[in-house]
């Protein structure tokens, strides 16, 4: 019974995730697209909870639904899209694009179908993660084993900020000089 229920929940989440993702990219009203993304983020968080990853679920809500989405809305307001974009298609070759996507989808489906899961490696069994707490285990792995990757992400964000400033501030300064 429980197995069936969790399967049903997964099915619901999967369908909603795919449907909202499609709505996000096809919607011509930018605000609607952002709101559909919000729905998608919440379902993703629930998906994490069903996998016993409560820390990731919290992060998903706080960072993505909370911070990233607000930034998206800011951008939408700043570029001031009052009316929907009336551009017919951004690209003329969408039939070819759909063909390629379907081909890729079939390939991935075949790949996933043949996937034989390996025996678990390492000392992190699901029981131990549950006992120690997901956040703690994640933090330990992040700050010991993956400390270098963690630091590199920091540099990556620094470059993103630097790039944004260079591309906006620098150009404005140039305009003032002229």
């Amino acid at each position: 019974m429980e197995a069936l229920l969790s399967k049903l929940v997964f099915l619901y989440l999967a369908v909603v995730l795919i449907a909202t993702s499609i709505l996000v990219i096809t919607n011509r009203n930018a605000v609607h697209a952002v709101l559909w993304m919000l729905v998608m983020f919440f379902h993703q968080a629930v998906l994490f909870i069903t996998l016993d990853a409560e820390f990731l679920a919290a992060i998903q809500i706080i960072v993505y639904a909370g911070a990233v989405l607000v930034l998206f809305l800011f951008v939408v307001y700043m570029i001031n899209l009052r009316t929907e974009l009336k551009i017919k298609n951004f690209m003329d070759f969408w039939p070819a694009a759909i063909l390629v996507s379907i081909a890729l989808l079939i390939l991935i489906a075949k790949g996933v179908g043949s996937l034989k899961l390996p025996s678990p490696v390492g000392d992190m069994t699901p029981e131990r993660i549950l006992a120690e707490g997901h956040g703690k285990v994640l933090g330990k792995a992040l700050f010991t084993e993956h400390i270098l990757s963690f630091e590199v992400v920091g540099v990556l964000l620094l470059v993103a900020v630097l790039g944004a400033i260079v591309l906006t501030r620098r150009i404005r300064m140039k305009g003032e000089e002229a």
Partner: protein, 477 residues
């Protein structure tokens, strides 16, 4: 407490670059003489180069290895940084992008490349690639009031982000199959029965080919490169043509040769058609170009096609040949782009190949230097280009890909035409206009390094190829 921290010695060169780059980005406001940043960049690169030779060892739970394979590529990246820095002051002042953040972004990009070359963990490899790409996207967009720069950078950014998704998907599949992202462990696990003929593994290898194909601009994933190369500031184009390309090959070596060596039958099958198409399409499309930056962009596509032959050979000799190729390619490509930067004036692009008409009469030395680089790009014997081609062709032939090598030779015959057309314009036509040449001491030094590199390595490549061979000894069992 402190004793439980892992040792950071192996990443000291990267840390140095990041720290200096951050300080330069901050200090730009108070430094009036912007050339200081060029001096600091060169000094830092030289120190980092010495440090790279001094440190070694695997750290961080074996996710980062300062081994000899990484060492060779780091040498390429840091030399590229030094030479691009020499090109930059004169050209960047002319186009109005001469500031500290420019050099900082170059150094961040090189840090990302160095992480890619030394990473033993696919997560770190991905992060290094993103660090490199993000910095280069910004650099390519620096001239953004010029629509060409904006368009090129936008294409580069969108397709680059797209290819990152492919890379992540490939890593995910490999993780699903092996339960790990560590390259060493993956290499052992691919042996396991039932895994090597798994469709998911083939798919993962194919996705890796697509992702790296975007980064090194293999046809049909090359669409962004001519626009991005044309639009970016020429100094950045010189960097893009060498750095990210070499880093892409470094990552290919890590993934294909080191992790997926036992599945080589499969990924070699994917790479062979790509290599053939790349060589021919690059060569044929270069023929019709009239803008020299676009021409060199197609030329760099063709050269990626040659360099991938060494990976296809899937042998120690092949990998060494690819590494040698990238090392030699550094001198001729940055050299050729340095010459292109000389003609840039405030209101004159100097990027049409007809601008080079009669150059031997007006500026004989510049014409001679350009001639050397073009001959090297064609692969005419006393220059480095010939040596590079010779070794990759030889490695692919010895690995049994005879038809592929014949195709490569045919393609390089076609590819000779666009370069020789410029030579013809420079030496056999009368000059139509008087071009001003903007030579600074920096770019002069850079050109001398490139010419010496192209000529000396063309005659005496022995030390470099031997060094490359010892460097990839640990890579292949």
């Amino acid at each position: 407490m402190w004793s439980s921290l892992p040792s950071f010695v192996a990443v000291y060169p990267e840390i140095l670059l990041v720290v200096v780059a951050s300080i330069m980005a901050l200090a730009d406001r108070w430094v009036k003489l912007k050339d200081v940043f060029a001096w600091i960049t060169i000094a830092t690169s030289v120190i980092a180069l010495i440090m790279v030779f001094a440190v070694e060892g695997a750290v961080f739970g074996n996710s980062y290895a300062a081994d000899t394979y990484g060492l060779f590529f780091k040498m390429i990246f840091l030399l590229a940084l030094i030479m691009v820095t020499l090109v930059s002051p004169g050209y960047n002042r002319m186009v109005g992008i001469h500031f500290g953040e420019y050099y900082a972004l170059l150094m961040f990009a090189v840090t990302g490349m160095m992480l890619m070359a030394s990473s033993k963990d696919l997560i770190l490899l991905f992060l290094g690639l993103e660090l490199m790409s993000l910095s280069v996207y910004v650099l390519a967009a620096l001239l953004y009031s010029d629509l060409r720069s904006l368009e090129g950078a936008m294409k580069y950014f969108l397709l680059g982000a797209f290819s990152s998704a492919f890379l992540l998907l490939a890593i995910t599949f490999l993780y699903g199959l092996t339960g790990t992202t560590y390259i060493d462990v993956i290499a052992k696990k691919v042996f396991y029965p039932g895994l090597a003929d798994n469709t998911a593994l083939l798919l993962s290898a194919a996705l890796f080919v697509v992702a790296f194909g975007f980064k090194v601009a293999l046809v049909p994933f090359h669409m962004w490169s001519p626009d991005a190369y044309e639009g970016a500031p020429t100094s950045v184009t010189a960097f893009m043509a060498v750095g990210p390309k070499a880093a892409g090959f470094a990552a290919m070596g890590r993934v294909f040769i080191e992790a997926l060596y036992n599945a080589r039958v499969d990924w070699v099958e994917y790479l062979i058609p790509l290599a053939l198409v790349t060589m021919f399409v690059g060569a044929i499309l270069a023929v019709v170009q009239t803008n020299i930056k676009r021409l060199l962009a197609y030329s760099s596509i063709t050269h990626a096609g040659y360099a991938v032959l060494g990976i296809i050979a899937a042998s120690r000799e092949g990998m060494a040949a690819t590494m040698l190729y990238l090392f030699l390619y550094l001198f001729m490509t940055i050299g050729a782009f340095s010459v292109v930067t000389l003609f840039r004036q405030k209101d004159f692009l100097g990027e049409e190949i007809t601008d080079y008409q009669g150059l031997s009469k007006t500026h004989p030395w510049v014409a001679l230097v350009m001639l050397i680089f073009l001959f090297s790009l064609v692969g005419i014997p006393p220059t480095a280009g010939f040596i590079g081609k010779f070794f990759v062709f030889k490695a692919a032939y010895e690995a049994g890909h005879h038809l592929l090598v014949i195709g490569a030779v045919l393609a390089s015959a076609i590819a000779a035409y666009p370069y020789l057309r410029i030579v013809m314009l420079m030496y056999m036509k009368e000059p139509e206009k008087d071009l001003a040449v903007n030579v600074t001491p920096y770019v002069f030094a850079g050109l001398i390094i490139s010419v010496v590199g192209v000529l000396i390595l063309g005659v005496y490549p022995e030390p470099v190829i031997n060094f490359a061979r010892t460097c990839c000894a640990g890579l292949i069992p």
